[in-house]
Amino acid sequence: MAEAAVKPQSSAAGATRLKIEGLNAYYGESHVLHGVDIEVKRGEVVALLGRNGAGKTSTLRSVMGLVGRRTGSIVFDGVETAKLAPHRIARLGIGYVPEERGIFASLNVHENLMLPPVIKPGGMSVPDIFTLFPNLKERLYSPGTKLSGGEQQMLAIARILRSGADFILLDEPTEGLAPVIVQQIGAAVRRLKESGLTMIVVEQSIHFVSTIADRFYVMEDGHVVDAMTAAELAANRDRLVTYLGV
């Protein structure tokens, strides 16, 4: 954990927390990310948009060190993570909510919730988590995968909040969920933003993130093809619609 001390600048508001530069990623022979550059500042919510197969998930997996081979630089809180093992990267304070949610079938809801170790102080307490997601409390001893899709998504987010991670990667949190559940997840994400967490939220459309994100990146075929701030969003909606095909 010695590296964590090397970056006094990161405690200042608005300082860069994550800087991805020239990221290339490969699955075996196939080259899926081509020189991706992304920057995220403290307290920001950054949306990563793009159609299916654009490389959004691969970008998040690269940050976590889960992609087989990657080149380029990924600096988090002043630490170059390109050579770190995934558990070392997580311990810098990054929480990962994967696209497939990753709820464990052989663990009950409570065990799923308690699985990620506390990596930083200041994580959400279990009672606070139940206030945020009351459904989880009622199903505490059911097997994790017996929950509905929406409840599994809540659990996937909840367990990361408990760990104290203050930089959160959310991969398509609304995928396949009913509108009422999407609203509940949206309210939760907004609360987390207000509490000062930094987030990257991956989505295929702007509906969910348009009122939450501070900045938007658009990906296509493994490249970042566009970027804009929330203020520029309205003026650029048409362009976005063309990228995303919605």
Partner: protein, 295 residues
Amino acid sequence: MFELLGIPPQALFGQLLLGLINGSFYALLSLGLAVIFGMLNVINFAHGALYMVGAFVAWYLLQYAGIGYWGALIITPVVVGILGLVIEKTMLRHLYKLDHLYGLLLTFGLALILEGGFKYQYGVSGQSYPVPAALNGGTNLGFMFLPFYRGWVVALSIVVCVATWYAIEKTRLGSYLRAATENPKLVQAFGINVPVMITMTYGTGVALAGLAGVMAAPIYSVNPLMGSNLIIVVFAVVVIGGMGSIFGAVASGYLLGLMEGLTKVFLPEASNIVVFLIMVVVLLLRPAGLFGRER
């Protein structure tokens, strides 16, 4: 079926006890195999050889250090466990990226090397190992004679199996293990050092084999082939119980030991093949095993 009535209870219960003893070893060994298979996806062919090494470690401790059974019961699993850590870190680890078959081949090779080495040194005749003094003798239960040591083996194996099952199913560390068995990468992405967990799991799994080796030493003689005779049956037990099912491994270990005992009473000719017959039937009717999850 008339002979059934002609069986004296002494013979029946004697064979059942023998079956239970064998079942105790099946359970301990298949438990370790199941834990290792779940986490590493490696069918640990070296398991029988490491059980044999465990028995030899106990024998060495007695011969050269004057340390008896009770000391061996503690020291041997540690020694065999450390051997397991070394095997995992220096060899197995490098094969995970390849097909599971390579792990099996490596451990198969290790088993042959270990057995060949001990055979070269000691031949195939056994070294005797005394029953600990405190467990000498036995008691007549009326329907059968129970040697104390055999009762102890059954009891200890049940305690170890239940404790291991509890640790895996009911503790926090066990939830890490179950989760990492399902999705090791995600568990590691939560900040848990999964590579170290894998090493420790292999060490613990083979330590159980080492423990079984010590327990076996006073019953079967300590000899280089004791593991290879046993491990084939244990593989069948694991298949019957269901690959990767902890409960299945333990339950089918005892059940099949008892089945063998019963077969010895009623159809002695079949006693050596009954386990394999059951395995074939289970594979055909329920390939995931009696307690395994169908995928």
